[in-house]
């Protein structure tokens, strides 16, 4: 369903993504793990047509998202790292707007919105403005919205960031259920090892722009002869803190982007 070959993205002199390759099968839940600034979000941006790769090939459901942009966009749903709802509209209106933008026929749209709002336990609040929602509800609404046009692939960029354990748990239950009933392929990034281990069929660990290991959680543990995914992760990526270097990199990236204009 997703196939990536030798994908590279440079920002000026800085290489954010270095020659990564991976495949995700149809119906699979695939997790990208990595410290801050590892290049996870850059990769997602390239997969979702928001950023052009410097070089390398991407295939989503057999097509290059940079050539067939609209067709590719129609085939995936995305939940961004930061919220992207219209706060001044109701949950229903946000769904409706998305449905129209994604050409979901009127009749299908209505039934699908009802189904998804009920699934994600937002039905009671369908007519409330989104700005009155809690963080968990907003997240759920975004995922429901991302699934409205029955995408073949759902991209989740750190969807549980800042949520309490209850909301996180509930969110993954829904995602797993949808993955099973609708056979949606899920590509997610997260910081939480336990989530990746619980939800994902396969995991890729990314560091400094490269994929350092990929496989099932069991395989990764075996590979590093550790007994938990967290230990495996630390064994693969080292235990030094990345926040500072990540900030410097982010700053560099911004500079590079600024001066290119």
């Amino acid at each position: 369903m997703i196939s990536v070959r030798n994908l590279v993205r440079r920002f000026g002199d800085f290489t954010a993504v270095k020659e990564i390759s991976f495949d995700v099968a149809q119906g699979e839940i695939f997790a990208f793990l990595g410290p801050n600034g590892a290049g996870k979000s850059t990769t997602i941006k390239m997969l979702t047509t928001l950023l052009r790769p410097t070089s390398g090939a991407i295939q989503l459901d057999g097509m290059d998202p940079n050539v067939h942009q609209k067709e590719a966009r129609q085939r995936f749903g995305i939940v961004f790292q930061d919220p992207s709802l219209d706060q001044e509209q109701t949950a229903w209106e946000n769904m409706e707007l998305h449905g129209v933008l994604y050409h979901v026929p009127r009749k299908v749209r209505a039934t699908r919105i009802v189904f998804l709002l009920k699934t994600f336990e937002l039905w009671d609040r369908k007519d409330s403005l989104v700005k009155t929602f809690s963080g968990g509800m907003k997240r759920r609404l975004e995922i429901a919205r991302g699934l409205l046009h029955t995408p073949k692939i759902l991209f989740l960029d750190e969807p549980t960031l800042g949520l309490d354990p209850q909301s996180r748990n509930q969110l993954w239950t829904h995602v797993k259920a949808l993955n099973e009933t609708e056979k949606t392929t899920v590509f997610l990034t997260t910081h939480y090892m336990d989530e990746a281990e619980k939800v994902a069929h396969r995991i890729a660990i990314m560091d400094h722009g490269a994929i350092v290991a990929q496989g099932t959680a069991a395989e990764l543990k075996q590979q590093t002869s550790t007994d938990s995914l967290e230990a495996a992760f630390l064994a693969l990526t080292g235990s030094s803190l990345r926040n500072e270097s990540a900030d410097a990199k982010a700053g560099l990236r911004q500079m590079a982007q600024m001066w290119r204009r």
Binding site: K45, T48, T49, L50, Q69, K70, E71, R73, Q74, I78, F80, D82, P83, S84, L85, D86, Q87, E88, Q89, E93, E96, L97, H98, V100, L101, Y102, H103, Q257
Partner: protein, 248 residues
């Protein structure tokens, strides 16, 4: 078409729902209307130019449309901040459709605001030369709204923070208003002022509106129509171009 419609509708919903903003944005034109309209009335009459209220009311209506239209475009800053812009930019519709939907929505809101202020003017004692002139006046109202909503979209695509917004308001929108002849007659001006008037696209909008409503023209009706149409086209192209360049 669906995309254009739903984004147009969104602008209208936002407008109707933000009652505070509606009232606040009507307060300023009303202040101009009452403070200047009545304040300068005596001087204007002594200069033999008749009623100042009659003269400036179309200008205040044009100002309302100008502010409201530019503002709705710049409101894209909020959408950028709250992330909603991204949702529309990754949708499988062309950016042009998104830009048109937003711009038409902003223009429609501006026309509604202008109409409300026109009603306030009527209450204050303003009288059009003939009620039959209203459709013509609305044509100019529409063109002003379109020109400046497109400009607003262009600005909203180009600027990224609130400082930029302040600069635009102080160094672009206010001069456009003050130099347009909304508040004073354009005839017998010094050459510098005349040039400024002629560069300012709002001059033609104000003149068209005033001409239609009170039958006092500075330019000719066809000049006004032509300039506004051309400028609207140019700003729409500029807006579409800048909007297509937005990076998420």
């Amino acid at each position: 078409m669906g995309a254009i419609y739903i984004l147009w509708l969104r602008e209208l919903k936002r407008y109707v729902r933000s009652r505070v903003q509606v009232v606040a944005s009507l307060a300023q034109p009303c202040l101009y209307l009452f403070a200047f309209g009545f304040g300068f009335g005596a001087v204007f009459r002594q200069a033999g130019r008749g009623s100042y209220l009659q003269f400036m009311a179309p200008g205040v209506v044009a100002m309302t449309v100008l502010f409201s239209a530019v503002f709705s475009g710049i409101a894209m800053l909020w959408d950028r901040q709250f992330g909603f812009l991204k949702e529309t930019l990754v949708a499988p519709v062309s950016r042009l459709q998104i830009m048109i939907g937003r711009t038409l929505g902003g223009a429609t809101v501006a026309i509604i605001q202008g109409t409300i202020v026109l009603c306030v003017c009527l209450l204050a004692g303003f009288r059009p030369q003939s009620w039959l002139a209203l459709p013509g006046a609305f044509l100019f109202l529409f063109l002003i709204a379109l020109v400046f909503a497109a400009l607003g979209t262009a600005l909203g695509s180009a600027i990224k923070d609130m400082q930029g917004f302040q600069i635009v308001m102080n160094f672009l929108v206010m001069p456009i208003y003050f130099l347009s002849g909304a508040l004073f007659p354009l005839d017998n001006q010094k050459i510098g002022m005349r040039i400024a008037n002629q560069i300012d696209p709002l001059s033609y909008g104000v003149d068209g509106l005033r001409g239609m409503l009170t039958n006092v023209w500075h330019f000719t009706p066809s000049t006004n129509l032509m300039v506004l149409t051309v400028v609207a086209g140019a700003f729409l192209l500029l807006g579409a171009y800048l909007f297509s360049k937005i990076e998420v």
